[in-house]
Subunit: 201 residues, 2 copies
């Protein structure tokens, strides 16, 4: 492999969020290969700090009320007007189950109980890891939060498959409805690949 | 709640990595509550960019060879000389299973196959999420990588419980040996709390 090919390969592996200045000293940063490392990192030219970047976790849940599940219609970009499961970025200091409960409350003003781990979905192409739960609504109470236009319970036959916001959400729902008939839910691990032909929203 | 109490409560929820300068424009950042948010964030005073900070994922595995499992003795801080499972930070562009396989190869020069999700452990007090697999060594081949002093297979009765590097690793091993007798491995979700009386290494 030529040196330039190697650099391109390393850059491909990095999937960096652009960074221009050091968050510690304000000096300029450069993308380079630190000694003993095999990935390009932003390194400060002034104070030599190496800035590591890592994937973000998204947590969410499928909340059941009897035989129906709760979906939210998005009020924000991307995919305004499309349906999704309540989910969002995990925050510092939170457990994954706390994050999933918070998102259900923020997006659908819904209390969700009895959370069970259901699936981890890798979205490596955007460095996101989705961790999804199954849960139960103890009361038939929900309403749109500030990020939702509408919240609604759906029976399986009414799921708006053509209007689901993201492929990862459609994939989660498919796994759920595949397990549902037997009532035998297993934990799923799945890679969701970027579909270049897909218009996302 | 007084305004100062509220600020302290919000700071507690943040668990921020200190940041002084904006990585986009080099301007000074301030910890403040953006409009419509409920968490303090670093916000650039010059370009107004909000810098979100999120938990990091650590991925690793319990690699089995017949009735033994693979441990590594750490050559690096923290906990030099203590035993651990091969595990490390998930990198951008990686799936969790790719990350776990990479860490096994880097730390123990071991190829691990048939990875099965085993446990997610929340370390909320340091904003880390551990995702651990079970796996199998197809060959009895391993050796210390640059971050290990020694790599070894252990039978259950020989596990050096008093010399395990981190509580999260001891917890993972306990869950594994609890499932092992019945051969019925389930997926575990667990919170690991900071033990203030515990000297870590």
């Amino acid at each position: 492999m030529k040196a330039t090919d190697k650099k391109v390969a390393l850059e491909m592996r990095g999937a960096h969020n652009a960074m221009k200045y050091c968050s510690q000293c304000g000096g300029p940063v450069t993308l380079k290969l630190p000694e003993g490392d095999d990935r390009l990192r932003y390194v400060c030219e002034a104070c030599r700090v190496i800035h590591y970047q890592n994937p973000k976790m998204v947590v969410g849940c499928i909340a059941q009320w009897e035989s129906e599940i709760l979906l939210c219609r998005r009020a924000i970009t991307p995919c305004i007007g499309k349906w999704t499961l309540p989910a969002g970025y995990l925050e510092n200091g939170e457990s994954v189950q706390e994050g999933a409960r918070r998102e259900a409350y923020e997006e659908a003003q819904a209390v969700v109980v009895e959370l069970q781990p259901f699936a981890l979905l890798n979205l490596s192409f955007i460095s996101q890891i989705y961790f999804m739960f199954r849960g139960r609504l103890p009361r038939r109470e929900f309403a749109p939060g500030p990020e939702s236009l509408e919240t609604r319970l759906f029976r399986e036959q009414d799921i708006p498959w053509d209007d689901i916001a993201f492929p990862v959400i459609a994939e989660t729902l498919k796994l759920f409805y595949s397990d549902l008939p037997g009532g035998n839910f297993s934990f799923h691990l799945k890679d969701v690949h970027q579909d270049k032909n897909l218009i996302l929203c």
